[in-house]
């Protein structure tokens, strides 16, 4: 039962990263990929109708985490207090950046909100990566299941770690590069030349960087958490995951070079999903390793809610998920196809 909910939460978070990942990625490149206000508007329109629904996956995953693993929710949210609050502020800035820009047809107003939107997208990508880095590396848990991390300490991955050290910064960079890749491939799919041509050039520059940081992060993870491969040794089927990552990188490269937009985007989707599933597979059954005494670690067993609640939750979760997938299928069908760049002044 606990394992089932672990999978559910992990999948919901992965869905969030895949879906909102291209919103963030489009935000990261939106200032670079567009030259005219009309082009920028077109880039924003590629995510305009869907970004809000995509963000709901974060809230739904958070709510599910809360009800299935209350102690994990309580411990991690209070322990990561400062960075989480900053994430909240960034989420607010991103939302008002994209939603309020079109209310006033002034270049100063729109320019300002575009910068707010893009900058908050960049920082959110880094923060999410660093957060995942913290979970993999472990946090200074005490016997009561709580911890508090300062923003940084000595930048090393020892027992006195902060939110930021060399490892979590690297994780943030990986997330930034990966989401840039994902968002760029999304923009290529949803726009026409000249925006898509520029995006293609960005994709070809980002790909080697992504390859390098992916390899770096694998090595760094093995160094920072020596036991990280235990689950892979115990269950060799898990080795399919790194294979999937490699295949995904190949798909992105092949798709980008041969202009197969769908293949490339499928590749970056697979890349994000496989990286996250790989991390979840390595952590299981731990959900928050302790950098202090390994005995203090939080697992799915010592954080889960009681069985009755988890059982009843499956019923409404499946029902809710069927409905949600129905809406998403409908919305993405409504907004399928490419967004055209319009002449100035139209479309407001």
């Amino acid at each position: 039962m606990e394992t089932l909910w672990y999978i559910v939460v992990a999948l919901m978070l992965a869905t969030y990263v895949v879906l909102d990942g291209f919103d963030l990625g489009a935000g990261i490149i939106c200032l670079i990929v567009s030259r005219t206000p009309a082009e920028r508007k077109a880039v924003l329109h590629t995510i305009g109708p869907v970004w809000d629904g995509n963000e709901v996956w974060l809230l739904a995953a958070g709510g599910t985490l809360y009800f299935a693993f209350p102690l994990l929710y309580a411990s991690s949210f209070s322990g990561f207090y400062l960075p989480l609050m900053m994430v909240l502020w960034l989420l607010m800035l991103r939302a008002i950046g994209i939603e309020l820009r079109n209310h006033v047809p002034s270049p100063v107003w729109q320019g300002f909100f575009d910068v707010v939107f893009s900058l908050s997208s960049v920082l959110l990508a880094i923060f999410f990566g660093a957060a995942l880095g913290n979970v993999i590396r472990g946090v200074p848990l005490a016997a009561d299941g709580y911890f508090f991390e300062p923003l940084w300490t000595n930048w090393r991955v020892g027992a006195q770690n902060g939110i930021l050290d060399w490892y979590t910064v690297l994780a943030g960079v990986v997330a930034l590069v990966a989401l840039t890749m994902h968002g760029t491939l999304y923009v290529i799919r949803k726009t026409e030349a000249p925006v898509s041509t520029r995006a293609r050039r960005i994709a070809l520059v980002v790909w080697p960087v992504l390859l390098v940081v992916t390899l770096l992060s694998l090595g760094a993870t093995m160094y920072a958490r020596p036991g990280v491969l235990d689950n892979y040794h115990a269950h060799p089927i898990g080795l399919l995951i790194p294979l999937a990552v490699a295949a995904a990188l190949g798909m992105i490269l092949h798709g980008s070079l041969s202009q197969k937009e769908r293949l490339a985007f499928a590749g970056s989707t697979l890349y994000l999903a496989a990286m996250l599933v790989g991390a979840a597979f390595a952590l299981y059954p731990n959900v928050l390793p302790a950098s202090t005494d390994p005995a203090y670690r939080l697992t799915i067993y010592n954080t889960a809610a009681a069985h009755y609640g988890l059982t009843i939750g499956i019923i409404w979760w499946v029902l809710g998920m069927v409905l949600a997938l129905g809406y998403f299928f409908f919305i993405y069908r409504m907004f399928r196809g490419k967004v055209k760049v319009e002449a100035e002044g139209e479309g407001y």
Partner: protein, 454 residues
């Protein structure tokens, strides 16, 4: 009081109070927009569609601010109230997670279609998206009320050896009798806000002689809806909510009324200042025996006073509780008076020219917000010193590792951020009111292009 506890309480109080300024309009306007869309189809009158489009714009701006200020609420259960979350998450996590699964997905999916899809959808399909947004926002409200209701009147749980609460009955949690009346009371409160805002902007148009046709429509629809909602707010919902408090939280009722001495034939206080030191009410104006009658339907029924409870379970801040409650009830009574007079004038076809009454409607705009806020303060201050009524004290629930300084830092951050949001909101809404309702022929493009626009 431990200062981290104080900061965490202020943190939640500030962010939730500011947040709820927006959902109350969202939930109040959503059914009114459905009414306008239905009238447009029924009467085949394009004026109603233009009106619906105008309110959809206000709704859209309001919704954005509601969403961005709502996300911190879910986070704060973990960040600032981790010990509460750890112990109660197995129960209230259910309703909060269901809100995400059933309400947020529905709302977010159909809001975009509703706001920008009018041209692409048939008129019935567009009406359907308005209904979907209405259902989503009202469903969201129910899950939040069910969560709060469990904290006010816990049901369907058991307690494990480590002190954590476990769900034992899903349906008891979801169909908590407290939640039913609180929901009805809260939603009609939201409708009061929505309809007062509509009437107020209509009155503004009539008084400034702009968009007169729509001004009349807004006044007409707003006044009728506000009259129904204001009366429903007092009876049966407010009355039943009060009796729920009398049954399950008698000490809260005593605090709300500042009834220091329990007595048969207890009076209802209209005005007066609670004096906690001397255990009496200064300068009271009272209606004799009225409280007994309202609570128990008998003039000489005994109402328990604060003296019948140990002081450690008294609501901590009796003056604040008393004033919140009396402001809510006082404003609610005034709302009924305003709206009954307005409906009579409307019926006699005099309202559109009754400038004095239109001024009253215009200036009434902030008061539903104050009444709703005061109502929630009554509920939440009345629950103190308990976090989960009778089971867990508020001082046991906050995050043990988050220092007062960090909490204060983020509280100040939210204050700054919300000031900016508030200014942006007023600025953008003022522009929309200035522009007024727009006809379909103007600047409506195929949806894909304008999807993120407007």
């Amino acid at each position: 009081m431990d200062s981290a506890l104080l900061v965490d309480r202020l943190h939640f109080a500030f962010t939730v109070t500011f947040h709820y300024l927006f959902p109350q309009l969202t939930m109040g306007l959503a059914p009114l927009i459905v009414v306008l869309k239905s009238l447009a189809i029924w009467k085949k009158d394009e004026n109603y569609n233009a009106a619906a489009r105008f309110w959809a714009k206000i709704f859209g701006i309001n919704f954005v601010i509601g969403v961005v200020t709502g996300i911190p609420m879910e986070f704060q259960f973990g960040t600032n109230w981790s010990h509460f979350s750890r112990l109660a998450g197995g129960v209230i996590g259910q309703t909060l997670a269901m809100e995400g699964m059933f309400a947020f997905f529905l709302e977010s999916a159909f809001l975009g279609l509703f706001l920008y899809g009018e041209k692409r959808l048939s008129q019935w399909a567009h009406w359907g998206t308005a209904v979907a947004v209405f259902l989503g926002s009202w469903l969201s409200g129910y899950f939040i009320i069910a969560t709060d209701a469990w904290m006010q009147h816990p049901v369907g749980y058991s307690r494990a050896a480590d002190g954590s609460f476990q769900l034992t009955s899903f349906w008891q949690l979801l169909l908590n009798p407290w939640a039913g009346w609180q929901y009805a009371h809260n939603m009609s409160g939201a409708l009061v806000t929505g309809s007062f805002v509509m009437a107020s902007i209509g009155a503004f148009y009539l008084l400034s002689r702009k968009h007169v046709e729509h001004g009349r429509m807004f006044v007409r629809v707003g006044v009728i809806a506000a009259c129904i909602a204001s009366i429903f707010q007092l009876f049966p919902t407010g009355d039943q909510q009060g009796r729920m408090v009398a049954t399950h939280q008698p000490v809260t009722l005593a605090g709300m009324e500042a009834l220091f001495q329990g007595q048969p034939g207890a009076p209802l206080v209209i005005i007066g200042q609670p004096n906690v030191q001397e255990r009496k009410l200064d300068n009271p104006i009272i209606l004799p025996k009225m409280l007994s009658f309202l609570t128990y339907r008998r003039w000489n029924a005994n109402v328990q006073g604060l003296d019948q409870f140990p002081q450690q379970v008294w609501p901590e801040n009796i003056p604040l509780l008393y004033y919140s409650y009396h402001i809510m009830v006082g404003l609610g009574t005034i709302f009924i008076a305003i709206m009954v007079i307005s409906v009579l004038l409307l019926w006699r076809r005099k309202l559109y020219d009754a400038r004095a009454m239109l001024w009253v409607l215009l200036l009434s705009l902030p008061f539903p917000y104050i009444a709703n806020t005061a109502g929630w303060m009554t509920a939440e201050i009345g629950r103190q010193p308990w976090l989960i009524y009778g089971l867990m004290m508020t001082r046991e629930g906050y995050s043990p590792r988050v220092s007062a300084g960090n909490g204060l830092f983020t509280l100040l951050g939210f204050m700054g951020m919300y000031t900016v949001l508030g200014i942006l909101f007023l600025f953008l809404v003022r522009r929309e009111i200035e522009q007024g309702p727009v006809w379909m022929a103007e600047k409506i493009e195929p949806m894909r292009r304008v999807a993120a626009a407007d």
